[in-house]
């Protein structure tokens, strides 16, 4: 697996400290990130592909610094956002998947082959030429996932990919994520998706407050949620 390494990472938006003292070495295949609203999960996740650069400390992916080698890092790290509408950039389904391959400069038939293959895998083959906006919310998230996975990244970071979906589609997306050969970092409020994960990181007030197997980490998260004092960094 890829090694994602946070060393002394802190982050500030203006005056506001949103992450502090994060040291993590992530090498497991399935990693969950949980925490309350505003705890800093998305900021942490975005750092893995260099969408957010840390104010202090460094983040590296297989030794590549996200600050200095952002492009190389993004080739290895695919990212799925919560709202697929923000992520789909081409008007039709197949075109959107093909868009991901543009930078790979493959011959047309090879692009078509890969697009067809990934659409088949995500049950979207029948929609290849349909406008993206006519898909259901669940299908849009599948398309977003397909468009990321068509480039075969080493790591997939997903920031609450099931939050906008109904229970059935959420289960579907979760099942697809579970099957991936890739390393997956999943940020979620749907805690049941994390059973069977190798490791769960709990973030609270910008700090990692627990980091263990799912059962231990989620028990710690329960105690965090029950704590009337609230997070260390408000």
């Amino acid at each position: 697996m890829t090694e994602i390494r946070f060393t002394g990472v802190g982050h500030r938006f203006g005056e506001r400290t949103v992450l502090a003292g994060v040291d993590l070495v992530l090498t497991e295949r399935r990693i969950g990130v949980v925490g309350g609203n505003g705890s800093g999960k998305s900021t942490l996740a975005r750092m893995i592909n260099g969408l957010v650069l840390p104010s202090t400390g460094t983040v590296t992916v297989d030794g590549l610094s996200t600050a200095r080698k952002g492009r190389d890092v993004r080739r290895r790290v695919g990212f799925v956002f919560t709202d697929p509408d923000n992520q789909i950039v081409m008007p039709t389904v197949a075109e959107d998947v093909a868009f991901s391959l543009r930078r790979h400069r493959l011959p047309d038939p090879e692009v078509r082959r890969r697009v067809t293959e990934v659409l088949d895998r995500f049950d979207l083959a029948g929609h290849a030429d349909h406008p993206a906006h006519q898909l259901s919310g669940g299908q849009k998230q599948l398309l977003a996932l397909a468009a990321v996975l068509v480039t075969d990244p080493d790591v997939l970071v997903a920031d609450e990919p099931t939050t906008l979906l109904d229970a059935r589609n959420a289960r579907r997306v979760a099942a697809l994520l579970a099957e991936l050969p890739q390393q997956v970092v999943l940020v979620t409020h749907h805690l049941h998706l994390l059973s069977g994960f190798d490791r769960v990181v709990v973030v609270d007030g910008g700090r990692v407050v627990a980091d263990a197997d799912p059962a231990t980490a989620l028990a710690a998260y329960d105690r965090v949620l029950a704590d009337p004092a609230g997070p260390a960094i408000p």
Binding site: R74, R75, G78, F81, D83, N86, Q87, P91, F99, P131
Partner: protein
């Protein structure tokens, strides 16, 4: 609902024709429609377009969806021309307008956006020397087409939220939250583009 000017998959000659050839055809057709001066020429042009639509196997309902947004414009233009310039002028101005739009719609109905973007990209290549990045321009156009339904969705949701609270339609009250949300969407889309490797 069939969205305006969106590709309809098919195997007709028109679908298979290269996008560049179709663009040239559209250009030539538009010039022709502008120089037409006789009612019978307009009638002939209309007939040719109907045949082209039939050739591409576009159902009449879909063709009508392309032209429907024009109907008020046509009424206004026709009325103005009738008053100011007589019925002949009115006929060929409005007829020319409708036929030009129909021809352009036929192009987008039978051509994938990516195919059009590739042509655009080739056309813009000589401008690279002057700092015009064909990839960027093509992406901008694709994004515009893609985001029209997203933006109209935002406006609809904002309006529905107002209705839910018992308020009626108001341009200013809808525009402010809609613009804020649109800007936030723009931020998110920008971020997603970076994540998908646009800058690489």
């Amino acid at each position: 609902m069939t969205a305006l000017g969106l590709y309809r998959p098919g195997t007709s000659v028109l679908h298979r024709l290269p996008a560049g050839a179709k663009l040239v055809g559209l250009l030539a057709g538009t010039v022709l429609l502008v120089v037409l001066r006789r009612p019978w020429q307009l009638g002939l042009a209309a007939l040719v377009e109907v045949l082209l639509y039939a050739l591409a196997r576009i159902p009449p309902g879909v063709a009508w969806t392309q032209l429907r947004p024009l109907r008020w414009l046509v009424v206004v233009v026709a009325a103005a021309q009738l008053l100011l310039a007589g019925w002949q002028q009115a006929l060929w101005v409005t007829g020319g307008l409708v036929l030009t739009v129909a021809l352009a719609a036929l192009l987008t109905l039978t051509t994938r956006v990516t195919a059009l973007l590739d042509v655009l990209h080739r056309l813009l290549r000589p401008l690279r020397r002057f700092g015009v990045d064909g990839d960027r321009v093509a992406l901008l156009l694709a994004l515009t087409i893609r985001l029209v339904p997203v933006l109209s969705g935002i406006v609809r949701e904002v309006q529905e939220a107002r209705t839910a609270r018992g308020a009626g339609w108001s341009l200013t009250a809808v525009a402010a939250p809609a613009v804020v949300r649109a800007l936030r969407t723009a931020d998110h889309v920008g971020e997603a583009l970076v994540a998908r490797g646009v800058d690489d």
